[in-house]
Symmetry: D3
Subunit: 62 residues, 6 copies
């Protein structure tokens, strides 16, 4: 049941997404010694108008 | 104040969404003995390119 | 894979928790026409010092 | 590292979003006495078909 | 219904928590022009063994 | 800013937690080509009375 949720910027492309899912899943398999079928990953990709760091929207940073 | 958040695939249509909201709300009303006005439900519907199960994106599963 | 996460106050007891899990799971089974083995529920129970409604901590409300 | 996540309706426009980010960031700076560079805000804006209050979708409320 | 969730370190004391709740609530009232009764804040305070920044647990940073 | 949140069972010990944080961070560094200082990981470890799979609490499964 371990569930890994990412909140991040857009991911470059589908291949990067595939590899990212595999790497996150492998990390959980190792940490919990669970079969990989049990691991769920959810990628929330946010636009630069929806995220602020240091009080400033990403879209306003250079 | 109980808040129920769903992370799931797309929901079939608006009627299914309506009924799902009612059922989740009823479950919380029963568990907490609170009036239904207090219950909030948020449905996050994710594309098949944003979710991985067992190390594989849903979009890559048959 | 649908995942239902609750953010709520403490739940009365283990039996209430059991029934709540079943009811939330049944709601997702119906909405998605998926087998119940696919449904995950996570209950985050928060203390009254960790939740504010209307600008006031629950612990400060009568 | 404090991370503030909002689940809310659509925000009116980019200026409102900017000010909201600043206000949420200021609140965390004050509460934690941390430099503002450490504070992250994520705005999840939900459509009225994805949120239910009191068992009813927002889109169905007048 | 706007819901503000914080993931952060422990908050110093109850008064800081009260003021933080008020400030976050005020920010949402202003952004959405909604009455403050509609705003919910949830504070998830995490131990230093549960958070990593830059690949290192907070508990291992000086 | 990418933030990785885990919802899972208890993690065995502090060393496992350390390694898990590093592995999750490395996965995000690779996917986003960002410096590791930007990556935050939050581990939410849940008791077996707070999680249901297939309609049953983990505490009730063998």
């Amino acid at each position: 049941m371990p569930i890994i949720t990412l909140e991040g910027p857009k991911i470059a492309n589908l291949d990067t997404r595939r590899e990212f899912i595999r790497d996150l899943t492998d990390a959980a398999v190792k940490a919990y010694a669970l079969p990989q079928e049990k691991i769920i990953v959810i990628l929330h990709e946010n636009s630069r108008e929806q995220v602020g760091v240091g009080g400033e929207l990403l879209v306003d940073k250079g």
